[in-house]
Amino acid sequence: MTVSKFVCFCLVLICFNAFNQSVLRFVPCLGSQAIELGKEYTIAEGRISFQSIKFYVSDFRTLTENGKLIKHWPTTLVNLEDSSSQSIGEIDSAAVRIDFLLGTDSLSNVSGILEGALDPINGMYWAWNSGYINVKSEGLYRDSTGKEFPFEFHLGGYLAPNATVRFLSFDVNPQRGIPQLVILMDDWLTYAFEKGIYSLMIPGKISAELATKVQASIQLTYRHE
């Protein structure tokens, strides 16, 4: 093979891979708008802005049609302050299913101090009641009368019956576009606000309930570039 043929071969290979793999992102949204921290949005006849949105994604896996594992990703912390953290990785064209845990598994919560994404320095660890905050959302909600409600949701807790880690699984078809996992923040925040809950910093029944709401608010969609 001549050098020029080899270069051509490599280019074809790269293009082939580019068309056959797409980077999956987590996108927290309000309605159809991707959320930007600090920007104000309309929600439930009020206005809302976010200071922080962070959550853990564990055991993210892609699977073939016959259930064979294609790829497994280590625990990652999605943090809206760092848009690169929203990208999980490339989804192979052979993948027909993805599944993952929203949050951290129970073993991570009882194994002392871990490193990387699970380092408590990331502000997602409760010292007083050992364990990870699986989902964090902070900001300001202003109702239709203009009254302000700062909100802080730290959803965590690994012990039954109020564990907050949630399993999600989606059929995926990379031929339809670039898959993305949209979190409809208004779905679960409106639910909390309607109950008069604006701050939650402890594990328990309400945390577990809201974790289920967050789980239900996640949808797989496709984008086209």
Binding site: T75, L107, G112, I113, L114, A127, N162
Partner: protein
């Protein structure tokens, strides 16, 4: 099925190892006292190195870890008093701010599964984050502590020696601290020496009588040889009107856990005053007097171990006190290996 469980274990261990570091192997000086139960935490030389112990010791005594560099772990955990804050019902940390609970003694921690009076901390390495970041204790942030340590050449060298790399992380910091705190073993009191039948060491008649009383009335919660079961119990104390401390309930949210606190060890109890989770009793004889005659049997939270009346005579109370004094381990309290590291 067993094979499946084994494979699952290997997989999970493998995944977790990605988030941990490997410890270089050095010689350890720790030996587990004979006839003691197996510790919760590894005390072998694989887990505790001499260099790791010394690094943990330096960190334990270093006020640089607090926001304004005035408070170290040792501020509230003094060696000579069983690593507790003697004469303080609750400790004061940075800027004189007060906590809400009596600083627990740091004795035989390697046998504990949970930490703090309410058991909210589930791992010895996770415990250290609390005093470092609590606004009434050292009021610092992990990022700032790591930054300061990283700027310190001596610490960087020590971390390099212990962990094979000078990058300082939260996990390494907490592991180093726990190498020191795991090593705080007290097992050489007069009580231990008598049980080991050491030559020339015997209980006095009064101490022996106290031991009998102890085994009759106290041992169900303060089980030998650790003198605690580490369970959560209510001894019937009324909630402090200022702190309104609900104990274990704050962690589990279960009503049945209301006013339960972890049973403390009685080792070195002579020096760990004041007593109880809020330090309400200044003298040990007040504690004995409370258990003897002042428990309210109508208290609905009272643990079943205290359901029956104890009622000790004055002589019995003095005998029990004499026995409790035999739990003092001066070798532990004055061991230079655990004291401020002089350079």
């Amino acid at each position: 099925m067993n094979r499946l469980i084994f494979l699952l274990f290997v997989l999970i261990s493998g995944l977790l190892s990605a988030y941990r570091f490997d410890l270089p192997i050095f010689k350890s000086k720790i030996s587990i006292p004979k006839k003691w139960p197996k510790p919760t935490y590894d005390l072998s030389e694989k887990a505790i190195s001499e260099e790791g112990f010394q690094l943990g010791r330096s960190l334990f005594y270093d006020p640089m870890l607090s926001r304004d560099s005035t408070i170290s772990c040792a501020t509230c955990h003094l060696q000579y008093t069983g690593f507790t804050h003697v004469d303080h019902n609750v400790s004061h940390g940075i800027d004189g701010r007060k906590g809400t609970r009596n600083a627990p003694a740091l004795i035989n921690l390697a046998w504990k599964k949970f930490f703090h009076w309410d058991g909210g901390v589930n791992h010895i390495e996770a415990q250290g984050i609390n005093p470092l970041t609590h606004p009434a204790e050292m009021d610092n942030t992990l990022a700032e502590v790591i930054r300061r340590l990283t700027l310190n050449d001596d610490y960087r060298k020590q971390f390099q020696r212990v962990y094979g790399a000078d990058e300082i992380t939260t996990a390494k910091l907490m592991n180093a601290l726990s190498q020191f705190t795991r090593s705080l073993i007290s097992s050489n009191s007069k009580y231990d020496q008598v049980l080991r039948k050491e030559k020339g060491v015997t209980f006095t008649e009064q101490e022996q009588s106290g031991l009998v009383i102890f085994r009759q009335h106290c041992v169900s919660c303060h089980q030998e040889p650790l003198f605690t079961t580490h369970q959560f119990k209510s001894n019937g104390l009324q909630s402090d009107p200022i702190f309104k401390d609900l104990g274990r309930f704050a962690i589990t949210g279960k009503v049945v856990d209301s006013f339960l606190f972890m049973i403390p060890t009685l080792r070195n109890i002579e020096f760990t005053f004041p007593y109880m989770h809020d330090g309400r009793f200044r003298k040990l004889k007040e504690v004995i007097s409370y258990y003897s005659d002042k428990i309210d049997p109508a208290n609905s939270h009272l643990s079943r171990e205290l359901n029956g009346p104890i009622h000790l005579s004055d002589k019995q109370q003095k005998d029990l006190l004499a026995f409790l004094y035999t739990l003092t381990d001066k070798q532990f309290l004055y061991n230079p290996r655990f004291s401020f590291p002089k350079k």
